[in-house]
């Protein structure tokens, strides 16, 4: 079957071709996606209905009072309505999570990470032309579209961006997570995100359910299939892709007997050429000052890094009245976990309750945020220097599993030692050393003594 070259744009069809095409059905939506879509639609219906009724403050109100009051009496009390709203919200989050965790690669990856909803040049032109056509400013034909046209892509991007915000802020408000200030912001962000989605939702519903041209799209969300003609007319690039896949599929099984000998490379994503990073770099010409300092993989000379660290330490003393630290942060994270896992034990244990201020989570402290910042700093510096790689630092002569065991054992010793000394190399060594605390220098003596002493015993594991 000779394969004619496929046209690059939809050409007018003869009636027979159109008739044939309209009979054939192409699969557009996977059943899981359809179920998710209608579940989502139902959730949005309930949540919008109760949500707008819940907002009673004139600052935020969107619905008139008669509506708010009607819904209140419907649910018996505003508290019941809130609990209903939260219950549906949680169900929504759980379902999406289940989809996200288990179905990610099969259903959502293609859409989110693939290029299915990525806007390209055609899409932008489509948007501008469509608007101008309605306003009678131009009658150019609409550029070919992917499986989702530009408008649908825009709405999909909006929804994928806003849904996490709505979910997170919703949970924060429902369970008063983190702090009051955060809940205050969550209220505002929740309303904004919902508002923006609603702005897109109107067109989505209008286009889907009301606009005649798009009627097949509406039914495709029920049957999962669209007619080839509709695909050809409205989503040409997607139609072409499906066509090429069909040919490749048939070719692979029928034409493989070697007659033509030339097997056209199978289409599909894997064929995307991957450009080796080194080559990419060379291409960009000689590295400038910024790149040489920050992007080069070599470490900085210790004195320069030392001065940088020293100035940061000084700034910390000047601003915060205390030095940098790390082991304290680990302790607070542990207490937070313990308080969450076994609150009774933590509150009553003589040691852990020292870290708990009544009415404040142990995470709200200088050290916890500082160590988190340190990880960010490390990440950025590692990223700039190209050192971001999931690796393991281990001596050449030992296996990974031994290294992991050593790391954990070393960690336990360090954790215990740090608490005993009330600080670690950064908290007590650096900061204590800078203020010339007597204990700090004794502590550093201990660290280096054990370090050098133990080195001989551990030489097999590191060298």
């Amino acid at each position: 079957m000779a394969t004619q070259p496929l046209p690059i744009a939809p050409v007018p069809l003869t009636v027979e071709q159109a008739e044939a095409m309209s009979q054939r059905q192409i699969k557009k939506h996977h059943v899981a996606i359809m179920l998710l879509h209608w579940f989502n639609a139902a959730v949005w219906l309930f949540e919008l209905a109760t949500g707008t009724a819940l907002i009673a403050s004139p600052y935020f109100r969107v619905m008139p009072y008669w509506y708010i009051n009607m819904m209140t009496t419907l649910f018996g009390s505003r508290a019941n309505m809130l609990h209903f709203h939260i219950a549906v919200g949680i169900l929504w989050v759980v379902v999406f999570l289940v989809y996200g965790i288990f179905g990610f690669r099969t259903y959502l990856a293609r859409q989110i990470l693939g290029k299915e909803i990525a806007l390209d040049r055609d899409d932008f032109r489509w948007l501008s032309i469509r608007a101008l056509r309605i306003l009678k400013k131009s009658d150019e034909p609409l550029p070919p579209q992917d499986s989702y046209n530009a408008g649908q892509k825009l709405f999909a991007l909006l929804v994928y961006a806003m849904i996490p915000i709505i979910m997170i802020t919703g949970l924060i408000m429902a369970f008063h997570l983190v702090s009051t200030a955060v809940v205050g912001w969550a209220v505002v962000l929740h309303f904004t995100a919902v508002g923006l989605v609603v702005s897109g939702l109107m067109i989505h519903v209008y286009m889907g359910a009301v606009f005649p041209e798009e009627k097949p799209a509406f039914f495709s969300m029920i049957t999962g299939m669209v007619s080839e003609l509709y695909a050809y007319r409205h989503h040409f690039k997607w139609w072409k892709e499906v066509k090429m896949q069909e040919e490749a599929w048939t070719h692979q099984f029928q034409g493989g007997s070697g007659s033509t000998g030339v097997a056209s490379p199978p289409l599909g994503e894997s064929a995307i050429p991957s450009v080796a990073p080194e080559k990419a770099e060379a291409k960009r010409g000689s590295p400038g000052m910024f790149r040489r300092i920050f992007r080069s993989p070599e470490y900085w000379p210790p004195y320069v890094a030392g001065v940088g660290l020293g100035l940061t330490l000084l700034a910390t003393f000047v601003l915060m009245g205390q030095g940098l630290g790390a082991s304290g942060a680990f302790t607070r994270y542990l207490v937070a976990i313990l308080a969450w896992v076994a609150p009774h034990y933590t509150f009553h244990s003589s040691y852990w309750s020292n870290y708990i201020q009544p009415g404040q989570s142990p995470l709200i402290a200088f050290l916890t945020f500082e160590i988190f910042g340190a990880m960010l700093g490390g990440f950025v510096s590692g990223w700039l220097a190209g050192r971001l790689r999931i690796t393991v630092d281990k001596g050449p002569r030992i296996s990974r599993r031994t290294r992991y065991a050593l790391a954990i054992a070393g960690g336990i010793l360090t954790g215990y030692g740090a608490r005993l000394a009330r600080g670690c190399t950064s908290g007590l060594g650096l900061s204590g050393g800078a203020v010339l605390a007597f204990g700090a220098w004794v502590f550093m003596l201990g660290v280096f003594a054990a370090g050098f002493g133990g080195a001989w015993l551990m030489r097999r594991y590191w060298l």
Binding site: A56, Y65, I68, N69, T73, S77, H348
Partner: protein
Amino acid sequence: MRDKFTRREFFRRSTVAGTLATVSPSAGSAKPHPPGWRGDTRVATIATNCEMCFWRCGVLAEVANGKVLKLEGNPDHPLTHGRLCARGNAGPKLLYDPDRLKYPMLRVGERGQGRFKRISWDEALDFLAERLAELKQKYGPESVAIFPHGVAPAFFLTLMRAYGTHNMAEPAFAQCRGPREVGYALTFGQGLGSPEPVDLEETKLMVLIGTHIGENIFTSQITAFAEGLSRGAKLIVVDPRFSTAAAKADWWLPIRPGTDIALLLAWMHVLIGEDLYDKEYISKYAQGFTELAAHLKEFTPEWAEAITELPAAKIRATARAMAAAKPAVALHPGRHTTWYGNDTQRARAMAIVTALLGSWGRKGGIFLPTEIKTGKFALPAFPQPKRERADGAGTRYPLASEEQGVTNGLVDATVTGQPYPIKAWIVYGQNVLESIPQRPRTLEAISKLDLMVVVDVLPMEQIYYADLVLPEATYLERFDMPQIAQSAKQPYIAIRQPSIKPLYESKPGWWIAQQMAHRMGLEAYFPWKTPEEYLETLVRPLGVNMDVLLTKGAVAFPGRPYISDRLPEDGPLFPTQSGKIELYSPLLKQLGFDPLPRYTPIEEPPVGYFRLIYGRAPVHSFARSQNNAWLDALMDENVAWINEDAARDLRLSEGQKVILENQDGVRSLPIRVSITKGIRRDCLYMVHGFGHESRRLRLAYHRGASDTGLMTRVKVDPIMGGTGLRVNFVKVVTV
């Protein structure tokens, strides 16, 4: 179009709608508690009295399944009528204080390290009985000294008297009320007792000399003080500091500290000089008036102005105001009155002014106590101690009370070994390191002891030096000797009964005394099994129905507060040697002291030093309540009041942390500075009871600074042994 359905309309309708939808009308904040219920738990209400300080206000404890939910004032209490101060309300946080002493502990390691091992009650009591027997045999029973405080040790003192020692001393005398009791007893033949019989709600003029009513909170006294003020009574406040009371005063006299006697003498001079005193009252009841008048010749207001730095006109004006209001003048005798070592003479002077105004036993002045005769147990005679009292009461300090004792006298005896060595201390409910000044001396005394026992509720600093520590149950968990308040306008008997079983292994005082009596063969002195039985015997002669007492918590009796309603069986009006008010005291003359109060100048603070004065805060009791979570949240540390100009000279900024160093070089913990106009330049004021050194008091440890720590110098009152505490000077050392 604007929704005409306005917001307020919306809410009114939604509430109505809410009701229509048969949701309970007050849907929303906490559901109402039906009577006898709190939320959904059945609640029992137990009437007892409070021990967060020594006023013992009436308290109702709401208890549900073994837990005290809330304390509230007891409306049936004859003195406090349902009112309760901040500390009273914070009782549950003492009961459930995680740092409480939980089980008996025996010292391991050196004294001062505070290292103990847990032992059972039997082991502890056997250990104590054995050591007491050993001490009695080696050094005699008098070698054991007891430092009690409050009502809890009452039964234990009976035990120790039966053991054979009379060396007992509580700070209530030599560090607090001593001088005033002795001064008024020398003048009117009887002391004042507690609650003070000051008729504040009926008075026309109140005079407070160094008494911080409003910062020192005794609930019923505050109610009377406030009622009096709102009825238009005038107020004179004599205080170097602009206290809460001074803020309400019509005359605030910012007197130079230590010169109160000069002011009082000047007042007497004006009252007698301008013939304003109550002539009829004095001629009828007093003697020694002529010697007094002669004595006052040259103590003119002008003379007093030079000493007290108070304008003579103001002294004259206040004297005349008192004369105008007499006899309804309530000259408050004060409560903590051990200030400069001449305190008994000052109390005498205040008593004489009260007499000149004729307000003793008169409406609006100082009313008289009414005796209540309670029942007694026929106990065998207590053994007569062979040697005299070690604390000098009756010997070194002739007029010191032998019933309350002189704490600093006992400390001196232990340090010097004179008149005989003291080998054991039993500190029961007292904080010897916080209430007795000269802390190094007390520690030196403790180092000389063979045995140091502490019975307490909280792990104060002193347990670090104790050999044996016994945990006592708090006032909400125990029976105590009932309060017989004879100095209230309506005398009453009020009981303390447990609202829940003692927590952890803490035990009530009566149980400890009874157990020790069995081990020491002194059962004869405890002829009752249960405290209810004891109470029954005590109350029977009063004809009080036990059930009413147990449910209401207190029963009042008709009072005879004024001279006019005295009955013959109340005994002589003025039980002095002469049977009259002794303006001139022959007893003092006979003991070699000034029969008439005289102003003797006291040492002034050296340049750069302030005189350390101290006082109370409304949310704390002495040094006891700093570890109470609710009270700590309201005031977690004390601050040092410093005059604005003095602070400017020292370049101090508000809230800055400084260290105070006294004349002997002793330094305090860091304390914040509070710069104010409301204190004289030469004084520095701080609230007593902070700067705790006990690491086991997690909320109170090292919070604020300790005034007692800075009191390394005292001036002992020769008449009754009280320790004048306001003789220490401090300078500010910036950190």
